[in-house]
Subunit: 228 residues, 2 copies
Amino acid sequence: MESDAYQSWAPSSLAEARTFQVEEREPRRSPWSRVERYAAGAQIAVIQAGGSQLRLLSGWACEMRILPDGRRQIFTFLLPGDVVETRGFESLGSRAIVALSRLQAVRAESDEVPWVEHSAQQREQRLYDHMVRMGQLSAKERVIHLLLELYDRLERVGLVDGDTFKVPLTQEVFADALGLSVVHINRTLRCLRRDDWVVIKSGSVTLKNRRKLESVACYRTDELSKVH
Amino acid sequence: MESDAYQSWAPSSLAEARTFQVEEREPRRSPWSRVERYAAGAQIAVIQAGGSQLRLLSGWACEMRILPDGRRQIFTFLLPGDVVETRGFESLGSRAIVALSRLQAVRAESDEVPWVEHSAQQREQRLYDHMVRMGQLSAKERVIHLLLELYDRLERVGLVDGDTFKVPLTQEVFADALGLSVVHINRTLRCLRRDDWVVIKSGSVTLKNRRKLESVACYRTDELSKVH
DNA sequence: CGTTCACTTGACCAACATCAAATATGGTGG
DNA sequence: CCACCATATTTGATGTTGGTCAAGTGAACG
């Protein structure tokens, strides 16, 4: 299951990406009858008024909010296999779900209910982890902690190759997620590279010595994620 | 409906407050048949294994996590009228619910289901707001933003007197909630007092000029909260 | 090849943390 | 009512983290 080529995300275009674009769905070889496709930067949640749920097949998205003065906060990342919660979005766009790369998704079927619920639980768990990151961890810890989470989640759906995985995120997206400036994200990454803890190269991340990283960042593999 | 006298919260005792204490329930004049009582610092969630829900009658609690190195993150405050979520706590204590003052609570009845769900939605909304606070706002903004949230929530249950309300929180609790040091919380409060924006005196908070505070802190009154 | 966007780096500064100590404040027993 | 204790608040001095501004590099794309 190869994911789509990652496409860069123009942050300037994102702010006014109120117009979503659904590309033509074409059957292809995918076993899914109704695959929906979205372009990077597309806002994909608001259209789901009916309260139905989408499951991501490939590509990344995020939940975010934009403040009146332009500051952005990313709440969580949505990865292949995740179910996109679209309930509750009637309550005025305090959150938006935005594609971070090209995306494929399908409607969740009724026989997937347990999976959908499990996904929702994990998502809530991630919100708490993310709050700890931003409230208690230093910049270096935050980056490592987030990378470990991404590793674990991608590993679970078979998207990790050894200790390396693809991350279609610009440093600006990292900054908006972790509550840091782009410049400081950059310096932090350089540090991690210098100490040979994490190798980041054009969308590819390699975690050396996972154990050490876990203890440095107070990362605790979440029990819930092992269910199922 | 006068709330209980607030009791101070000993942070040191909190960490090891694994033992909850349920005081004797006495009928008193309260109209509730089965009122449960908790002392300040008591951990109240873990005992609810059945997945039933408690509704707070008086007193404050919080959801929090303690990191292995002792750092604490408070996720949200639970106020009178709120429903304490106790589902999902089987998933190993990644969160604890702790009383911040003396507390009274009752089991939620089955005819309260819509209210319970509404409370859960609001709680989720608060988690997002809190992430924005910690990720994007400055110290001054964070404090104001939080105080505005508390004001709105207390106002909804009739616990605001004019522009003044009681807050049974130490500055350390504020610090743990907002991801700041106690010292800096203190200095920030002094600033707010100096500029005559907020008056804080022994557990009482008065917000002068709410409009200005809202715009300073990027506070947006949440539409969801007006439902019901 | 010029444009755009992401990444990188340096210089500088503001926000916030840390350490230490002094000063309330509230609850207690006498 | 007072003295005492523990905890909370306040303040100063000082250091660190991370933000801002600005400029430059590099890579992708038409």
